[in-house]
C-alpha cells in the first residue's frame, strides 16, 4: 500500500522510540503515508495502524485530532493560509481573499482541475513572517502579499 521509500521512512521514525512504544511513531507514519498518497483514506489509516501495530481506531483518533492530516481528497497543491489574529493584522484575510478570487474557490474547496485546494489554517508559529501560507503542509511561504502569491502560483504550475 506504501512504497518501500515510505516504509523505510516509517522504520526510521519507529527507531526513535523504545521498542515497546511503537505507537509513538504513528504521527510520523501517518504524515509519511499522507505525503506519498496526498491524503489518508480509511484503508491507508488501517494499513499504517497495522504497520505500527496499534488498533485502527487509535490511529483514526490521531488522524482526526491533528488538523494537518487530510482525510478527503485534496488538490496537487494544498494551500493553507493563516488567518489568526497576528496574521490578520498583517493582511492574512487579504491574502486569503486574493487566493479565493484568483483560484475561484473558497476555503475547503479544490479547483476543478484538481490542482489547488485552499484551506484556512491556525497559527503556524511564524507570525513575524505574516501573512504566511503553507504549501502541502510542509513548505512555508512568508510575506504572502498578492504579488508574492502570483509568483508562488506561477512556480506551482
Amino acid at each position: 500500500m506504501l512504497s518501500q521509500e515510505s516504509l523505510a521512512l516509517i522504520d526510521r521514525e519507529l527507531a526513535k522510540y523504545p521498542a515497546d512504544q511503537r505507537r509513538s511513531a504513528i504521527m510520523g507514519a501517518l504524515r509519511i503515508a499522507q505525503t506519498e498518497k496526498r491524503y489518508l483514506t480509511n484503508e491507508l489509516i488501517e494499513f499504517v495502524a497495522s504497520y505500527v501495530r496499534i488498533p485502527p481506531v487509535a490511529a483514526y483518533e490521531v488522524a482526526t485530532f491533528y488538523n494537518m492530516y487530510d482525510r478527503k481528497p485534496v488538490g496537487k497543491y494544498k494551500l493553507t493560509v493563516c488567518t489568526n489574529l497576528p496574521c490578520a493584522l498583517s493582511g492574512g484575510y487579504t491574502t486569503a481573499d486574493y487566493l479565493k478570487q484568483k483560484l475561484g474557490i473558497g476555503f475547503g474547496e479544490t479547483t476543478a482541475d484538481g490542482r489547488f485546494t485552499l484551506a484556512e489554517g491556525e497559527c503556524m508559529g511564524a507570525c513575524g513572517y505574516a501573512p504566511v501560507m503553507l504549501v502541502n503542509n510542509h513548505s512555508m511561504c512568508n510575506h504572502m502579499t498578492p504579488d508574492a502569491i502570483d509568483k508562488k502560483l506561477a512556480e506551482l504550475e
Binding site: 485502527p56 483518533e61 482526526t64 485530532f65
Partner: protein, 769 residues
C-alpha cells in the same frame, strides 16, 4: 493512613486514596460521570469538582489525591457553583429527549440534572447533532446524547483489552466511534451499555421494548460458563426483558459477558415448546402431562424389560441444575440404569480423580497469582470474564503463558506461548514438563514415556514462567478437557504442577460442571459410541451438545425410545418420541456450583411458559409414577440440601485417583482443531438471534488454516472448501489464521454447518468445494 475531613466529618483513609475514594468510604455522594471504580481516572467530566481548603480553585474529587489534614467541602457554595456550571455545559448540547430514551429512569445525567440543573437554558444557539454509529447487533447508539465521559472507550481498551472504540476529532466535534466500517466485537462488549451514564449506548435487543421503571428486578445466576456470573433479570408481565449484572466482586465483579447478557432472547424464542408432545405413528401430537409422563414411564419400563438396564442411557448438559441432575441420577438408579452422563463434549472418559475437578482455588485467589499457564483453551471465548480478570492481573504483574493448538490473542501480554498441533497437545505439555525437570534438575516421572521428545525454546519459556514464583497455577481449558487424550494431558499437567508447586485447575465448561460431578452425573462414558435402545435426554441436543454430534444423532435415531426434556422443540422434533417441556433457568429454582466450588442457588424469575414445568418437578413426578421411594420433595431446596449435604470443599479434588500412563506419540497429516464456538455452546446462546449476528458467530462458520497449509491445499481466503470427517461433510468459507501450525484445519464443532462432522480432534480431509 491520612486524616482528612469531608463536609466536617473526620475520617482516616489509606495514603494513595483519592478524595472520591474517601467520600465513598463514608457514604458521601459526589456527583460524577466519567469516574468508574474499574476504569482509569479521566477527570474529564468535571462533575465531581469539590472545594478543598487552601486550593485556589475547585478540584476533581476523582483525581485529587488525599493529603494529610485535607479539608474537603462537597456541598459548599464553591463546589455547588462549579458542579452547576458543569451541569449547564453538559446539558446545552444534550437533546433532552428523555421521553423517548431507553435510559430514562436509570440515567445519571437525568438524575443529576434534577439536583444540579436549571429549569431553563441560557443556551440559545443551535444544538449539536451527532450521527449514530453501527456498533453491531448488541449495542444501539444515539450519539447526540453522548456526554464524552469516555467510559466506553476506556472499557474497550482497559477491560476488554483492545481499543475498539475511540474518540475521533476534537473539541465539541469529538465523537465516540469504532473504526470506520468496524463494529464492537468483544465478547464482553455489552458492558459499555451499563457504563454509559446517558442514553448514548443502549441495548439493541431491548430497544424500545419497555420503560425501565416498569421492570421488576430479580436475581439469578448465569447458566453459561463455569464462572457463575450473578444476574439481575428484569421482568415485565412474566417475560424476561433484559439481563444486567448483579455486582459480585468475588465472581463477575460488575461485568457480564455478552452471552450472559443477551442469551435471554432465547427464553422468548418461538422455538419454546409449551406443551408435552408425543410422536405417534410418526406424527407429533400434543398431550397432557399425565399422558406424556405415563408414556415415558411405561416406555422406559418396556425398554428395560425387553433389552435390559444397560440398554438405557441418560444424558444431560452440565448447564442443568444440581437439583435436576441429582433427581435424574436418582430416577435412573430407581430404574437400575447406571449410565448417566454430563460430560457430553468429552472424548476421553478414563480420568479418575479423588474428587470433583475444579479451579483448585477461588477465582479471586487465581487472579492474585504470580504466574498462570493455560493449557488447551480459547480462554476469551470459553471463559470471557475470567479472561478479563486475568488481563487485569497481567497489568499488576501476573505472567500468563499458554500451551495451545492455536495462537489466539488473549488481548493481554503473553509471557510465553507454545503452539502445537491439536493432536500433539499431550506432547506439548510433555515438552514443558521435561523443561521443568531439566531446569530443576529433578528426575522425570516414571509413568511418562517421553519417547524422543526434545524441548523447543517456547517450551522452556513456558517452564520458566512458573519458575521461582510463589503463587502459580496451571489451568486446563475446554480444548484440553474435550481432547481424545485428556487423561494424558491431565497427568502430564499434574506432573508439572507437582514439580513446580503450581495449583492445577480445571476450567468448568458450563455453569454446573462441578455440580454435575458432585451429584455423580458422569457414570456413562461415551454412551453414543455403542448405540442404546433408549435415551433420556435432559436439556441436551445430540448434534450440538455431544462431541461427536453425528455419531450421537445416529445413535438416537436408531433408538427405540428417546425422551427429551427440553425447553425448545427444534432439535428434539427430529428424533425424539416424547418431548416434555421443561423450564429454562429463568423459570425454575435451582443451584449451580461454579468452577471454584461455590454453590449458588436461585429462584425462577418468571413463571413457566405455557405448560412448561421445572425439570426437577417433572423428574419428581416420574419418580412417583414409577413408584420409587424418596421422591416426595416439596421444594428444590430440599433436593439441594440432600444433593449437596455437608461441605462441598472436601469433595473437590484434582488429585489423580490412579496413575495414568503417558506416552509421547508423533503425528502428521491434516488434523482438525474443532472448537465449540462461544455462541453455540449451550441451548440458550444458540437461540439468541442477536448473538447469532455477532462477529464471533460469523467467525464460527469459517474454515481456518495458516498460509502454508492453504497454499498446499490450493485454497485462498474467501473461497469455499469442503471438509470430510468420518463420512460426514461440510462446506465452509476459508479464512487465514496465522496462529495455527502447518496442517491444522480449524473448523468449529457442534455448529449447524458442521454437525455432520465427527471428533473435535482427528484426521480430516479438505478440498476446494
Amino acid at each position: 493512613m491520612l486524616e482528612i475531613e469531608i463536609d466536617g466529618k473526620k475520617l482516616t483513609v489509606p495514603s494513595g486514596s483519592t478524595v472520591m475514594d474517601a467520600a465513598n468510604s463514608i457514604g458521601v455522594h459526589i456527583p460524577h460521570f466519567c469516574y468508574h471504580k474499574k476504569l482509569s481516572i479521566a477527570a474529564n467530566c468535571r462533575m465531581c469538582l469539590v472545594q478543598v481548603e487552601k486550593a485556589p480553585k475547585p478540584l476533581p474529587a476523582c483525581a485529587t489525591p488525599v493529603t494529610d489534614g485535607m479539608k474537603v467541602f462537597t456541598h459548599s457554595d464553591q463546589a455547588v457553583t462549579a458542579q452547576k456550571g458543569v451541569m449547564e455545559f453538559l446539558l446545552i448540547n444534550h437533546p433532552l429527549d428523555c421521553p423517548i430514551c431507553d435510559q430514562g429512569g436509570e440515567c445519571q445525567l437525568q438524575d443529576l440534572a434534577v439536583g444540579y440543573g436549571q429549569s431553563g437554558s441560557r443556551y440559545q444557539e443551535e444544538k449539536r447533532v451527532v450521527a449514530n454509529k453501527d456498533l453491531g447487533p448488541l449495542i444501539s447508539t444515539d450519539m447526540t446524547r453522548c456526554i464524552h465521559c469516555s467510559r466506553c472507550v476506556r472499557f474497550t481498551e482497559e477491560i476488554a483489552g483492545y481499543q475498539e472504540l475511540g474518540m475521533a476529532n476534537r473539541g465539541e466535534f469529538t465523537e465516540v466511534l469504532p473504526f470506520i466500517g468496524k463494529t464492537v466485537n468483544s465478547e464482553i462488549s455489552g458492558n459499555v451499555i451499563d457504563l454509559c451514564p446517558v442514553g448514548a449506548l443502549t441495548s439493541k435487543p431491548f430497544r424500545y421494548s419497555a420503560r425501565t421503571w416498569e421492570l421488576s428486578r430479580r436475581k439469578s445466576v448465569s447458566p453459561h460458563d463455569g464462572l457463575g456470573s450473578n444476574l439481575v433479570v428484569q421482568v415485565k408481565n412474566h417475560k424476561v426483558m433484559r439481563v444486567l449484572p448483579l455486582e459480585n466482586e468475588a465472581i463477575n465483579e460488575c461485568w457480564l459477558a455478552d452471552r450472559d447478557r443477551f442469551s435471554y432472547e432465547a427464553l422468548n424464542s418461538e422455538e419454546r415448546i409449551t406443551k408435552p408432545m408425543i410422536k405417534q405413528g410418526g406424527v407429533w401430537q400434543e398431550a397432557d402431562w399425565q399422558t406424556a409422563l405415563e408414556f415415558v414411564a411405561n416406555g422406559l419400563k418396556g425398554v428395560i424389560a425387553e433389552h435390559g438396564r444397560e440398554s438405557v442411557a441418560a444424558v444431560a448438559t452440565p448447564h442443568s441444575t444440581v437439583e435436576e441432575l441429582f433427581l435424574l441420577r436418582k430416577l435412573m438408579s430407581g430404574l437400575g440404569v447406571n449410565a448417566v452422563e454430563t460430560r457430553l463434549r468429552a472424548a476421553d472418559f478414563a480420568l479418575k480423580t479423588a474428587g470433583a475437578t475444579w479451579l483448585g482455588q477461588s477465582i479471586a485467589e487465581l487472579a492474585a497469582s504470580d504466574a498462570v499457564v493455560v493449557i488447551g483453551s480459547t480462554l476469551r471465548k470459553e471463559q470471557p470474564l475470567l479472561a478479563q480478570r486475568l488481563r487485569q492481573s497481567v497489568k499488576k504483574g501476573l505472567k500468563l503463558a499458554a500451551i495451545n493448538p492455536h495462537g489466539d490473542d488473549l488481548l493481554t501480554a503473553k509471557a510465553a506461548e507454545l503452539v502445537v498441533r491439536p493432536d500433539q497437545l499431550v506432547e506439548g505439555v510433555l515438552q514443558v514438563l521435561k523443561a521443568v525437570a531439566e531446569a530443576k534438575g529433578i528426575a522425570l516421572p516414571a509413568n511418562v514415556d517421553f519417547g524422543s521428545i526434545d524441548i523447543p525454546a517456547e517450551a522452556r519459556a513456558v517452564a520458566a514462567v512458573l519458575d521461582g514464583k510463589e503463587k502459580t497455577a496451571i489451568l486446563l481449558g475446554n480444548i484440553a478437557q474435550q481432547h481424545p487424550r485428556y487423561g494424558e494431558i491431565y497427568a502430564a499437567a499434574t506432573a508439572i504442577a507437582e514439580a513446580t508447586g503450581a495449583k492445577l485447575g480445571v476450567l468448568g465448561e458450563a455453569a454446573n460442571t462441578v455440580g454435575a460431578q458432585l451429584v455423580g452425573a458422569e457414570t456413562g462414558g461415551d454412551v453414543f459410541a455403542k448405540p442404546r435402545q433408549a435415551y433420556f435426554m435432559l436439556n441436551a441436543e445430540a448434534e450440538f451438545d455431544v462431541q461427536n454430534g453425528a455419531q450421537a444423532l445416529a445413535a438416537v435415531k436408531q433408538a427405540k425410545l428417546v425422551v427429551a426434556l427440553s425447553s425448545f422443540s427444534s432439535c428434539a422434533l427430529e428424533h425424539a418420541d416424547v418431548i416434555l417441556p421443561v423450564s429454562p433457568f429463568s423459570e425454575t429454582s435451582g443451584t449451580f456450583v461454579n468452577m471454584e466450588g461455590r454453590a449458588q442457588s436461585f429462584n425462577g424469575v418468571v413463571r413457566p411458559l405455557g405448560e412448561t414445568r421445572p425439570a426437577w418437578k417433572v423428574l419428581r413426578v416420574l419418580g412417583n409414577l414409577l413408584g420409587f421411594a424418596g421422591f416426595d420433595y416439596a421444594s428444590s431446596e430440599e433436593i439441594r440440601d440432600e444433593a449437596l449435604a455437608g461441605d462441598i470443599a472436601p469433595r473437590l479434588s484434582n488429585a489423580l485417583a490412579a496413575p495414568v500412563a503417558v506416552k509421547a506419540q508423533s503425528a502428521s497429516g491434516l488434523v482438525r482443531l474443532g472448537e465449540v464456538s462461544i455462541y453455540q455452546a449451550d441451548i440458550y446462546s444458540r437461540r439468541a438471534p442477536s448473538l447469532q449476528k455477532t462477529a464471533d458467530a460469523a467467525n464460527a462458520t469459517l474454515l481456518k488454516a495458516n498460509a502454508a497449509t492453504l497454499a498446499k491445499l490450493g485454497l485462498a481466503a474467501g473461497e469455499l472448501a469442503r471438509v470430510e470427517q468420518a463420512g460426514g461433510t461440510a462446506e465452509l468459507q476459508v479464512a487465514l489464521d496465522a496462529g495455527l501450525l502447518d496442517d491444522v484445519i480449524r473448523v468449529s464443532a457442534n455448529h449447524p454447518l458442521t454437525r455432520a462432522l465427527a471428533a473435535h480432534v482427528g484426521a480430516i480431509a479438505v478440498a476446494k468445494a
